[in-house]
């Protein structure tokens, strides 16, 4: 009898433990199913060098072990990846199963049919419960929305622009955190004129996409726009556009020497080495600013959403996603890979290894907010970006012609910035050239 009782107990204990093992690890449970169906599949993914990819690299071995799918990452520099994509689209053949896609490239891969719409896949049985698509910030999800109402990428690294400022300096000089661009100008003026070795404000203004990136942030707050959302006409010669370009140009005198050739690394370095009091830059700079190996101002920096201009306060979104190629013959395994890495279930792993945050659940988490002082500013700035979207505007024109438009704006704007031509000449030239490019 006793023996039998022990035996039953043992069975129950075993059952409970195995059940709880299943219950506790839905990831392994899901992976087992995937392994049965798609184990042994090989997939190749093209990626750019990016902190999030570094995080994925630490997560992929477990994915391979659990699912039996083997993954080859073809890692290259961003420009190279862009070129690769252009090459493949023009050759009309894909040699990858999935590719890391930036917001700027999304219209082209969608329009050309190079990538597939992801809605059917998000709703498919392959997608695990712990993926939680809706948890990814909407502003990020909609970066990859195309005219057909479908999404062409699963975002994993989002980026917005907010204001960085030196808490110690502002306090020491009794200057309040600026909430309008007029106050930013004043504060920048104060620091560049009164404090030795510290310039007012740092940002990127290098000729080309860098200039466009920076300037696009200032457009809407001054009432400017690239394309009028109501008429669909190019509106680069509007008074608001002129005002924003003039503001950016005037801010220049309080920036670090050489800001006209600064790409983002130089802009960040100026702030990180303590040579600028304020910086208006990408959220991606924040982890660097807080890294004491690279930054002299870690722990001394405050973050806030962007100040308001005469026409309101707006920011923008950029970001990276995984897209799945139409030519892929192993879409199921590829989708399993994308869903696994970008899921909410593995988010803790992802963030712990340096991945860039893109989910509401993380940005809103009080513990994470305390550990990452810029999370609140990120959320606020994303709210500002959503406001911009609500106006029908964006910092990246959702058009396959964006790279031409960006190049024209960056070139002409950059020339006006340094006074090679006047602001009026620049916007006239932009208006004409962008209209021509978009008309084709």
């Amino acid at each position: 009898m006793k023996f039998r009782f022990v035996f039953v107990l043992l069975i129950v204990a075993l059952a409970i433990s195995s059940f709880s093992a299943l219950a506790q690890d839905p990831i392994e449970e899901w992976a087992a199913g995937i392994k049965d169906a798609y184990g042994g599949t090989e997939i190749t993914v093209a990626v750019a060098s990016h902190p999030s990819i570094e995080a994925f690299k630490t997560m992929i071995p477990r994915f391979e072990e659990l699912t039996g799918i083997s993954v080859t990452l073809d890692e290259m520099e961003e420009g190279q990846l862009s070129q690769r994509r252009l090459l493949e689209v023009s050759a009309e053949s894909a040699s990858y199963d999935a590719m890391m896609i930036a917001i700027e490239w999304s219209p082209q891969v969608a329009q050309s049919g190079y990538a597939v719409p992801l809605e059917p896949w998000i709703e498919s049985d392959i997608t695990p419960d712990w993926f939680n698509y809706e948890d990814i910030l909407q502003a990020y999800r909609d970066m990859f929305l195309w005219e057909d109402g479908m999404h062409y990428g699963i975002p994993f690294a989002g980026e917005t622009v907010f204001m960085f400022y030196r808490e110690d300096l502002l306090e020491e000089h009794g200057i309040a955190v600026p909430t309008t661009f007029a106050e930013v100008m004043e504060a920048a003026k104060y620091f560049s004129e009164n404090v030795d070795g510290v310039d007012g404000i740092s940002y990127r203004a290098r000729l080309g996409w860098e200039f466009t990136y920076m300037w696009s942030i200032f457009l809407a707050p001054f009432g400017g726009m690239m394309v009028d959302p109501e008429t669909g006409e190019v509106a680069l010669d509007s008074p608001g556009t002129v005002a924003s370009l003039e503001y950016v140009r005037d801010l220049w005198q309080y920036g670090p020497v050489g800001v006209e050739s600064f790409s983002f690394p130089e802009a960040w370095d100026a702030f990180m080495l303590g040579r600028a009091a304020i910086m208006i830059e990408a959220s991606a700079a924040a982890p660097e600013v807080e890294n004491p190996d690279k930054s002299l101002v870690a722990g001394m920096t405050g973050y806030s959403k962007l100040p308001a201009g005469p026409a309101g306060a707006y920011s923008g979104v950029w970001g990276w996603s995984f897209a799945m190629m139409d030519d892929s013959e192993v879409k199921e395994a590829t989708w399993a890979f994308i869903a696994y890495l970008t899921s909410e279930g593995l988010q803790a792993d992802y963030l712990a290894n340096g991945g860039i945050v893109s989910r509401q659940s993380a940005l809103g988490d009080p513990d994470l907010q305390a550990a990452n002082p810029y999370y609140q500013a990120t959320l606020d700035a994303l709210g500002q970006a959503a406001d911009l979207g609500a106006e029908g505007l964006a910092v990246v024109l959702p058009s396959p012609k964006w790279s031409q438009v960006s190049s024209i704006m960056g070139t002409e704007g950059g020339r006006a910035f340094i006074g090679e031509i006047t602001v009026e000449e620049a916007v006239a030239s932009m208006q004409a050239q962008v209209s021509e490019a978009l008309a084709e």
């Binding site: 961003e78 983002f264 190996d293």
Partner: protein, 279 residues
């Protein structure tokens, strides 16, 4: 008179020092670059710059060998530079011989034709080449770069080596032929050994040129055939410019060529000057 001697001595001392100073000025940026490969990031950015006394670090070298896999790009560069140089020399020797030893109509015209093609800037045809590579299914391959470089290297080699061959007395060959040797045999036994120095010098210049070439390689390769000089793009990352690994790569990428050029400096200088003095 004594005073004059002293003045002459002083002025020659002064000129000696000036020479040393000038040469040092040309060397200094390179030495500073190599030293920066051993500095931490914050040391690199220090102002005033740190010239010595910093604690050297090897982390950047570890980084480029383990994370960036620099050996892969070195391998690509080596394959492309060696193959293209060998192929160039192989194709150019007969043509050189023909230009130097035969008389035929339109000779100088053809020679100048080669020279003009050599002037075509890489950047101006690289996008045409990009489409050509696509249409031949040869994008991002070693072989395409090797062949494309021939366009510049073969005319250059012919022009350089022609001077060397013309400097070898034709009588040597003729006397061998009088002794019954065929023209080819006379060339192989007499002229070829004598022009070996010229071939070596030409090959060195071509190798260095291909090893360093940027604009064509940058736009025609992506993952498979990427060469060393074009890896600079990897240091422009989302978290800033990786200066340390950049300096380390620049050190690794330039060191072989610098050592090579110094070892064969006699040939190098003779090749450089020979072309100019003859041309």
């Amino acid at each position: 008179m004594k005073l004059g001697n002293l003045r002459a001595l002083l002025s020659s001392r002064f000129l000696d020092l000036l020479t040393i100073g000038v040469v040092a000025a040309f060397l200094f940026p390179y030495i500073f670059m190599v030293s920066s490969a051993f500095k931490t990031r914050l040391d690199t950015f220090a102002y005033p710059p740190i010239f010595w006394g910093f604690t050297p670090t090897l982390e950047h070298f570890e980084n480029i060998f383990s994370d960036m896999n620099i050996l892969f790009y070195m391998k690509n560069s080596t394959i492309i530079a060696v193959c293209s140089t060998l192929l160039t020399i192989l194709i150019s020797i007969p043509a050189t011989y023909s230009f130097a030893r035969f008389r035929f109509r339109y000779k100088e015209g053809v020679a100048y034709g080669f020279l003009f093609l050599q002037m075509v800037p890489g950047i101006s045809i690289v996008f045409a080449l990009f489409f050509i590579a696509g249409s031949l299914n040869l994008s991002d391959t070693h072989i395409f770069l090797i062949v494309v470089y021939l366009l510049w290297n073969v005319p250059y080699a012919i022009w350089m080596m022609r001077g060397f061959v013309e400097g070898i007395p034709v009588e040597l060959e003729e006397s061998a032929m009088v002794d019954g040797a065929s023209r080819f045999k006379a060339f192989r036994l007499i002229t070829l050994p004598l022009m070996a120095g010229g071939i070596a010098a030409t090959a060195i210049l071509i190798f260095i040129g291909v090893w360093n070439e940027f604009s064509v390689a940058f736009f025609l390769t992506s993952t498979e055939a990427r060469t060393m000089p074009t890896t600079i793009a990897f240091f422009m990352t989302h978290s800033g410019i990786k200066w340390g690994p950049m300096f380390a790569t620049a050190t690794i990428g330039t060191l072989p060529v610098v050592i090579f050029a110094l070892l064969v400096r006699r040939y190098f200088i003779s090749a450089l000057t020979f072309g100019a003095v003859k041309g």
